[in-house]
Amino acid sequence: MQDFFELIVSGFASGCLYSLMGLSFLLVMRPTGVVNFAVGQYAMLGGFAAVAVMTTILIPPIALPYVPGLLVVLALMALLGAAVEWIAVKPLVDRGAPPVASMLSLLGVLIVLLEVGARFGGTEALPTEPPFGFRRVEFGPFAGTPQSLFTIAVTLVIFAAVWLFFERTLWGRAFEAVSLDRRAAQLMGVNLRLVTVSAFASSAVVAGLVGVLISGTTGAYYQVGMALTVQGFTALVVGGVGRVDGALLGGVLLGLLEALVMRYLPVSSSMTLAVPLVVLLAFLVLRPHGLLANRGGH
């Protein structure tokens, strides 16, 4: 039983990372209809950016404390996201090309980002100092590390904030309106450029945050991108494409499922990586709308 409660915490924490990746997909998908597979590379770059600004490993003269360092990284990610939109998506949208053209051009961006990461950060895992460390903390039957609790808390705060933004603020509603009916939203006076740019920027910020969180646990590593992309998209497909709460639910379920399958089912442990892949395929084929019903939009 002790194992089970430990697993809940660590599975939940991994699941939170998947949820955030799902959210990163979603922030762009909902208002623009574009699926950006490069979000995993944002996470990878976010990790290396954290190593660059918080430690002396990549850029020796700069070593900011965690909070200012985090803010700097997220600001850089926002710039990156906006730049990617401006360079690789806007010209296509202006030309009236279909979303699949944007998807392909973003695959080109994916490779550029991957290579930039590998050249700048190298092919070895590089660490940042996690703010809370890895000693064991127990609360009731549960046990985890301060770092895993930090990941969970950050994720819940982000999701709460995003949910409140979309449901409660006028501009959040405007984002929703754009994803429901782009033309009608435009006729309300919604600035579509602003929505699109902020969607790409915020998507990069969320994925970059995942990278920063991971850099503190397993290190920034140039190959984390593709796995996170699959895990994040799976979270989305499981929870229900197009819903913020769906991304959270899907990611957490996936994280828990991975941990429980790993621990209790007699499968080879290298096959745990197959869990999200199999879940993804099963949902795409059997239940493409996910667990929660879609509420319109794309």
Binding site: E176, D181, A184, Q186, L187, M188, G189
Partner: protein, 240 residues
């Protein structure tokens, strides 16, 4: 107040509008009539900056707004009730109206004032305030669409086929509301296929055939025409 000069616009390779010119004075109610596919909605979209003008210009109160974005054109006092209503179905009535107020510079106090105004015009919307837009009847949705367009406090309201597919009783109800708007001094540009409704509301009508203005005349003159029943047909013949 609104001036369209030699406007050319279209989608992709297709040219829909050929040098359309149009002028509407302050406080006037004009109708844009014409058969299906004549380019009426395209003209609306071009005026609102939703599609790009390839040549020609659009002037609002002496300011050239050609090439401006929709939201900046709206701040000049234009607002469009789009064809097919395009309500945000999963939003409540109130949230739909909030969306309409996004370009309202006065902020929260201005919003409350406009909300009261719209609810005064369409009391049924107030009753349905927290109902989802998608659950309203067709007529109520049309009222919501008009109310939403009024939330930005426009000086020129463009209405694209607001009576399409509605029951006669509802049409009357909405016509009455439009008349009130007219009396309050709002400038109106109404797109309508049905001549009787159009000529009832507007004092002047422009007939759009195949992307060009084929005829411009006062409503009274038009009503007096003998070939009114097949006006479009005869104009199309002439154009060809």
């Amino acid at each position: 107040m609104l001036l369209v000069e030699n406007l050319v616009a279209g989608y992709g390779a297709a040219k829909v509008l050929h040098e359309v010119s149009l002028e509407i004075a302050r406080g006037e109610a004009a109708a844009l009539i014409g058969p299906n596919g004549a380019g009426k909605s395209t003209l609306m979209a071009a005026i609102m900056g939703v599609i790009e003008a390839r040549s020609g210009r659009i002037v609002v109160d002496g300011t050239n707004v050609t090439g401006h974005t929709t939201h900046s054109i709206m701040t000049r006092g234009l607002s469009l009730v789009p064809e097919g209503r395009r309500i945000f179905a999963p939003f409540t009535v109130r949230d739909n109206l909030r969306m309409g107020s996004i370009r309202l510079s006065a902020g929260r106090p201005g919003f409350d004032e406009r909300l009261d105004y719209v609810y005064g015009l369409f009391p049924r919307l107030k009753q349905r305030e927290s109902q989802l837009g998608g659950t309203l009847s067709g007529g109520e949705q049309q009222m919501l669409a008009i109310g939403r367009a009024l939330m930005s406090n426009p000086r020129i309201l463009l209405l694209d086929e607001p009576f399409l597919g509605l029951a006669p009783k509802v049409i009357e109800e909405i016509q009455a509301a439009v008349r009130i708007l007219q009396e309050q001094g709002l400038t109106l540009l109404l797109v309508e296929q049905k001549l009787d409704i159009a000529l009832n509301i507007a004092s002047r009508a422009c007939v759009l055939i195949k992307g060009s203005i084929a005829l411009e005349s006062s409503s009274d003159n038009l009503k007096a025409r003998s070939d009114l029943d097949d006006l479009y047909f005869s104009l199309a013949e002439k154009a060809a």
